[in-house]
């Protein structure tokens, strides 16, 4: 209340304050007045009296209102409070729960991390193991390559097989690294395993190769076969078995082919079967040998194809032995046929051609394959054919010489001798072009000449000495001229020459005797030889007239040297022989003349005018006979 008169000073003070207060500035007052204006609308006494109650009433209302309102607030506030309390409780529960969960989770986490660590470790292990497996164990595809899938017996071999086998090998050698790393047991196990794989694989390869090796000429197979053989070298036993198997196959194949060529010929009979020409021994043998000589290189080529990738050191030997083995089959049919030829009587010359053919092809074939039954067979056949040939030759010769014919009157070699020499010439001409010609020619010459010389000697032994010498000389001259055309006959020729010389000596002596007789030189010669101290001129038969007569005869002879030659000398075939006999017998005469000349000119022999008796000096006479 503002206007209330009260005690002085308080009043005054209030008064003052009221007075001093400027209503318009007091907000509250304004507000209050404004409020008052709302309900105090009329300024009446009543109104003035009631104002107060009215205000109080109004205040009460307001308080009541306020209270009611506040009561609602309180109610809601209470429910809020309840809610919050509840919330608090729940939260506390939750916190508790959380706390629990938290402690539980911690264990879990620990476990998890432990597991995680373990996982990492295990993963590492796994990596190691798988890479170990990769490098030290075979992959399934390798195993398939090695053993095939399923249980089929005949596993086809491919290049993968070899690759797998190489891997096995590699693993095996890698095990050494393992070994060095200290993993002995593992290494040894792996090695053993690999060895087993290798054995297994080799066996598979072996089985396959064994059954396919015959088809080495199949272009699809040859590379694989070659590689398989190269692998099998690791097990020489398998390798050899395969080669053996191969040999057996090829051997029977070759025999079959050979028999076909012999009896059936080529496709549709071209070329004709070899046996159709069996009647001609030379062609027959040649054809057979040519066929063999052509077949072996093919076999050799195939064989080499088979072992082309092999590297073992004695490969050449193995190939050669195998080839020899393959060729064994054809030995028997060849042998039977050639032996049959040797039994059938033929000409020695034909057989000689067969011998040469055998010798030539034996050499050719020997270049392709050394040793073995084929070579033995060929050697045997060669020896046999040589023997049969020489026997046949012998027979032929003996047949010709069976009768000891008397030499013809002209003392020329008998027809049998000439014929044999013609045979010899034929044979030597062939032999001189053949392989081992030296021994052949000597053998043939011996085979012919020995019996021939013997026969000639037999014939000659029945003749008188002069005829004998002439006949022998003529025969030996024919032999000499025949042989002198060929090489390697030096020994024979030397012997013939020496034999001829002996006969020339005989003839010379016969001729000289005949000359001495003809010129009545005998007594003169005897006196000359025996003469003693007596002067020769006094010896009967040494009269100058007689000596002059002798010189005359001698001079006549020098003009016509043929006149008093032995008739047989003219039958000598060789003019050289004839000349030699003549010359030497004359020389003998001249020697006697020389002796006589010297004796006559010797004063001791008391010849008057010696140069009148023997008017010619030995030198002059000599030149007359030249």
């Amino acid at each position: 209340m503002i206007t209330e008169p009260d005690k002085e000073h308080v009043l005054s003070k209030r008064m003052y304050k009221i007075l001093e207060s400027r209503i318009e500035n007091d907000q509250d007052t304004i507000e209050a007045l404004r409020e008052l204006s709302t309900f105090y609308t009329e300024n009446t006494l009543q109104a003035r009296r009631n104002l107060r109650s009215q205000i109080e009433k109004r205040s009460l209302d307001i308080n009541q209102n306020f209270l009611a309102s506040f009561k609602a607030v309180k109610v809601s506030f209470d429910s809020v409070y309840n809610d919050i309390a509840e919330m608090n409780k729940s939260i506390q529960d939750m916190t508790l729960q959380l706390q629990n969960a938290k402690s539980q989770t911690k264990k879990l986490l620990q476990k998890t991390s432990a597991l995680q660590e373990e996982k990492v470790k295990i993963e590492l292990h796994q990596d190691i193991t798988s890479s170990f497996l990769k490098s030290f164990q075979l992959q399934p595809e390798d195993l398939v390559a090695l053993y095939g899938d399923g249980h089929k017996r005949d596993v086809p071999i491919t290049f993968d097989t070899f690759r797998a086998l190489e891997k096995v090998q590699e693993i095996h050698s890698n095990c050494k690294i393992l070994m060095k790393a200290g993993l002995q047991t593992l290494a040894l196990d792996t090695m053993e395993q690999m060895t087993q794989h290798k054995e297994g694989a080799l066996e598979v390869i072996y089985r396959w190769t064994q059954s396919h090796c015959r088809n080495v000429d199949n272009p699809d197979l040859k590379d694989i076969l070659a590689q398989a053989m190269a692998k099998l070298q690791d097990r020489m036993v398998f390798f050899k078995y395969v080669i053996e198997e191969y040999c057996i196959g090829r051997r029977s194949f070759l025999v079959g082919e050979f028999l076909n060529a012999l009896t059936k010929g080529g496709p549709s009979g071209n070329p004709a079967p070899i046996e159709t020409r069996a009647h001609d021994a030379q062609i027959y043998v040649t054809d057979m040998l040519v066929w063999i000589n052509r077949a072996i290189p093919i076999e050799k080529q195939n064989l080499q194809l088979l072992v082309t990738s092999c590297t073992c050191e004695n490969l050449d030997e193995i190939v050669n032995d195998a080839l020899a083995n393959i060729c064994e089959g054809i030995c028997q049919p060849l042998k039977i046929r050639i032996e049959k030829i040797l039994i059938v009587p033929t000409q020695a010359a034909t057989l000689y051609a067969v011998v040469n053919m055998l010798r030539y092809y034996k050499k050719c074939i020997n270049k392709l394959v050394k040793g073995g039954q084929l070579e033995d067979t060929l050697t045997e056949l060669l020896e046999k054919s040589e023997q049969v040939f020489l026997e046949l030759l012998q027979q032929q010769i003996n047949g010709l010489l069976v009768r000891v014919e008397a030499p013809p009157r002209d003392l020329s070699p008998t027809s049998a001798v000439s014929h044999l020499l013609a045979v010899l010439r034929d044979m030597l001409s062939t032999a001189s072009m053949s392989e081992g010609r030296e021994t052949d020619m000597i053998k043939i010459a011996n085979a012919v000449l020995e019996p021939l010389l013997r026969a000639v000697n037999e014939q000659a032994a029945r003749l008188p000495p002069t005829d004998m010498a002439v006949y022998l000389l003529n025969c030996m001259y024919s032999m000499y001229t025949c042989l002198s055309m060929y090489e390697f006959m030096e020994d024979r020729l030397e012997r013939l020459q020496a034999q001829s010389d002996a006969q020339i000596d005989t003839l010379t002596s016969e001729q000289a005797s005949s000359l001495v007789a003809n010129l009545s030189l005998g007594p003169i010669y005897t006196i000359l030889q025996d003469h003693s101290q007596d002067a020769l001129s006094g010896v009967p038969g040494m009269e100058p007239s007689n000596l002059r007569n002798f010189l005359l005869k001698l001079t006549n002879l020098s003009v016509q040297p043929d006149s008093i030659l032995l008739p047989q000398i003219n039958l000598l075939l060789s003019s050289k022989h004839k000349k030699s006999v003549q010359k030497r017998s004359f020389a003998l005469l001249l020697a006697i003349y020389k002796q006589l000349y010297e004796a006559v000119h010797n004063p001791a022999n008391q010849y008057d005018n010696p140069s009148d008796i023997l008017s010619k000096t030995p030198e002059e006479l000599n030149s007359m006979f030249e």
Partner: protein, 215 residues
């Protein structure tokens, strides 16, 4: 005489004579081949063998004529006596008849060869001591009386075979050295250097003049 391609200074010609079956061919075979020939056929006419030997450092080619012992070949074999530098006269110590014929063989040889020919008497088959029919002393005496060299030999075992042939060659070589054997006049001397293939000589005609001449 084709002088072979070999180096030798002389050729000596030998003949081997004696009865049939005394082993002449076997001796030759033993000497040239150093082998015993068991089944030796009868010689027909003459056989021939050569071997080069060495005497006093000189190479000498022996040209040996092995004659048939059979009488029917006498005409043929006679041709070979001439010009022989050595004659090996063979008998069989187990067959006296072969020894008894020696004098006729010796006469033949003396008649048909020249005086310088070395004659060597060989008693063959000395391996058959048990069947001996001719004593060593007897034959030795015969040889001495006739101026022959003598040895008992065996073609089967080879005993003394080589020696007989070599001794003969030595003796001949010695004759050449002594000049008893004139090479140039050679007539029947029988050895020639291979360089002079021109024959030795007109030899001696015994036929008419019974005895030889010419040198």
């Amino acid at each position: 005489m084709s002088a072979g391609p070999y180096n030798y200074s002389y050729i000596f010609k030998y003949i081997i004579i004696g009865d049939m079956g005394v082993g002449k061919s076997c001796l030759l075979h033993q000497f040239t081949e150093k082998k015993f020939m068991a089944d030796c056929p009868h010689t027909i006419g003459v056989e021939f063998g050569t071997r080069i030997i060495e005497v006093s450092g000189q190479k000498i080619k022996l040209q040996i004529w092995d004659t048939a012992g059979q009488e029917r070949f006498r005409a043929v074999t006679r041709s070979y006596y001439r010009g022989a530098a050595g004659a090996l006269m063979v008998y069989d110590i187990t067959r006296r008849s072969t020894y008894n014929h020696l004098s006729s063989w010796l006469t033949d040889t003396r008649n048909l060869t020249n005086p310088s020919t070395v004659i060597f008497l060989i008693g063959n088959k000395c391996d058959l001591e048990a069947q001996r029919d001719v004593t060593y002393e007897e034959a030795s005496k015969f040889a001495e009386e006739n101026g022959l060299l003598f040895v008992e030999a065996s073609a089967k075992t080879g005993d003394n075979v080589e020696e007989a042939f070599l001794e003969t060659a030595k003796k001949i070589y010695q004759s050449i050295q002594d000049g008893r054997l004139d090479l140039n006049a050679a007539e029947s001397g029988v050895q020639h250097k291979p360089s002079q293939p021109g024959r030795n000589n007109l030899s001696n005609d015994q036929q008419a003049n019974k005895d030889n001449c010419a040198c």
